[in-house]
Symmetry: C2
Subunit: 178 residues, 2 copies
Amino acid sequence: MAKRSLPLSKVYGLLEPGPVVLLTTAHKGKANIMAMSWHTMMEFEPPLVGCVISGRDYSFEALTKTRQCVLNIPTVELAEQVVGCGNSSGRTVDKFESFGLTPLPAAQVEPPLIAECYANLECRVADTRLVNRYNFFVLEVLQAWIDRGVKEPRTLHHRGRGAFMVAGETIKLPSKMK
Amino acid sequence: MAKRSLPLSKVYGLLEPGPVVLLTTAHKGKANIMAMSWHTMMEFEPPLVGCVISGRDYSFEALTKTRQCVLNIPTVELAEQVVGCGNSSGRTVDKFESFGLTPLPAAQVEPPLIAECYANLECRVADTRLVNRYNFFVLEVLQAWIDRGVKEPRTLHHRGRGAFMVAGETIKLPSKMK
């Protein structure tokens, strides 16, 4: 799977539909993965992404200390790995090893890309003003990668308690909206 | 379509998958509708929702002044109305009338529910600290309504420029996650 750089102006189209993402961090020589659904675009370019990461999550400390992460977007083939990552903690489990996921070096940040995900967004933490009250981080996407062979990604969209809506068909309507 | 009250603890399951919503406001005796995709859950209960509303949107002033709105969730049957709302402004258009949508009185806020949407979330503005920098509002859901006849809502998920992914099948995996 050869990934190519995606212009930053196109990143919003990947996250706006609301897919589950796998967030990778690296801290004290250890990479970790968490599943996350509470995110939103906040700006087109440079792309800003707001997201909530609980203080109970092992990734919270890594993100706070290193201020770097990667948002990896899985498709339905990775549903079991997504649930596995969501139901275990990096405190006790090496998630790359446990779930057979492949770390790849990122270009601009320390945390690894997940090779099996069709898109990867390298991010830095841009604003922490709402972290104390809501665990809400504002991330800036520095570099985006995509497998251009995937035209209509069958992303996962969490309905709660292990139920996921799988992305269906795409329809196109005449629109002036970005 | 008889709607029933949905417990607030279940609201996250409606927004977490990332559907386009139609946000209604009411200001100076006029109700308005805007299409919005940039939102995220921030807390389970009481449900908090973060969202970005551009200062160029007519709804921005109404929301800032009245601090009330309703998030209405449309399904694919309303795709044309969603795009219509997104491509016009409440400054010049009565969107309820133009797009044949039916306003219904809400229980706890002034802005109307949209009858044709399968779910409606009555909200108040809870936090405006990131409005100046990002046009980011934190909303609290006060009351939720749902058409219980809709089991797997075919919601719309914007990929950009009028392309929408339509919600596909739901899969269920064993999970401890909420």
